[in-house]
Symmetry: C2
Subunit: 299 residues, 2 copies
Amino acid sequence: MAKIIECIPNFSEGQDQAIIEGLVTVAKGVPGVTLLDYSSDASHNRSVFTLVGDVEGIQEAAFQLVKFASEKIDMTKHHGEHPRMGATDVVPFVPIKDVTVAECVEVSKNVAERINHELSIPIFLYEDSAQKPDRVNLARIRKGQFEGMTEKLKQPEWAPDYGEAKIHPTAGVTAVGARMPLVAFNVNLDTDNIDIANKIAKIVRGSSGGFKYCKGIGVMLEDRNIAQVSMNMVNYEGTPLYRVVETIRFEAKRYGVNIIGSEVIGLTPAKALIDSAEYYLQIEAFDYGKQVLENHLLN
Amino acid sequence: MAKIIECIPNFSEGQDQAIIEGLVTVAKGVPGVTLLDYSSDASHNRSVFTLVGDVEGIQEAAFQLVKFASEKIDMTKHHGEHPRMGATDVVPFVPIKDVTVAECVEVSKNVAERINHELSIPIFLYEDSAQKPDRVNLARIRKGQFEGMTEKLKQPEWAPDYGEAKIHPTAGVTAVGARMPLVAFNVNLDTDNIDIANKIAKIVRGSSGGFKYCKGIGVMLEDRNIAQVSMNMVNYEGTPLYRVVETIRFEAKRYGVNIIGSEVIGLTPAKALIDSAEYYLQIEAFDYGKQVLENHLLN
């Protein structure tokens, strides 16, 4: 069975259709790679591409996309609502099949080195590829954005992982890294009190003492007049979905509040849901790789 | 995305390695088809092959396997514990991806016609391909076994669906049909009283008034000294796994008995488990085809 890696590069262009279509053409032109999805947001002025491929193909595709973006996108003229620091802002690699996060870290380093070597764009390694604890979090790396990067890189603690302390004049700086697949998962409560959703989000998220691989905030769903615990599950093996659901359930009870539903936003690996089925159905000794039929069909 | 069909032919040979390996060679030689698994049981004197492939490939592979079996297996000399009526006893086709049961019924008819036309083996269509209600159930078709088929086929109500009322002298009779994927699913109880497992099995199985697509019996797990409700879920969309688990749970309570675990035996489609995750996690408006990442990788 072949190894499959996902790559979700974010580009600082969400308006110019010629450039976006150019990126699509580049992505589709690399053997061993499939472009699963791409979406652009004009007000963010940003596009997100989702590709999957084998180890060689995904590295080539990532590099060629970054190269094309560096030739077509001028950050000195970029405006958009979303924080950004480079023509290609961030390039995460995600293990999908028969591949570990550690292998994706290696892939991220290969691509980072090549981008810097051939295109002279300085690179920060982030998430599981980070070389220092304060580079795990993309928001910390990106703080100051494109306009602030010239000065930021001169600080010794913000010397890039690849390249000199000097931004690319038009393509800026890019973050490259490996991470587990992310599942965007929201739990809806039968209350219109957002304070309750906020309190529960604080309980389940890792940053305030909850589950290590859960990020969460309370949000109000205005159209339904209900409060929601909105989460990013950044490692569904380390923090399974059922565990936050059951925790939200017993914490909400304190307020006489119940769970009325949940939402998975966008894509999820099958295993993130099957792990929860295993828990609730109490399945003994289930072997995901061997017993799920579809795993024998992917190659 | 390509359509994927599974085929699980059962052959009346579980001892002669040369014949079994010959079947393996045939299966592996058909383009567009992958042999996922095969297993032989010497006391049953029977082998079960599991193949997946595209619509053309799976039909060709099924035919070539039946042809090889008809040339190598002599039913007049066959002995084994498992009921059987042909060198190839039964050939089910199962929809796996982007294909309906109705399309698998068409596939089964194509293969049935070709087997009869080229090999002169009479065919019964069974399960979802059955042309009469009393031919849905394989056990009813097979009753009398190979030795009784010569007389059985002479009865007007048991005229084959393809071919004359005359068995193939050495290859006997074969059943061909389409069905949903089957999930072998057992629920373990914290009691050593098999009567309770039997009573609950009777409640959940369709044949005695329970769920239409559930077959079940009570069995004793001697090594663990616990009783089990052992089930075949013959259509996990019609009767989801969580529904029988929750029913078993509330029926067992009457006896002060609890569920201590469950088992999935062998392969299961991912969707059979994800449907249950959706229920327990209360996921709203989940789109299995679009939101499960792996579904975009299969082609």
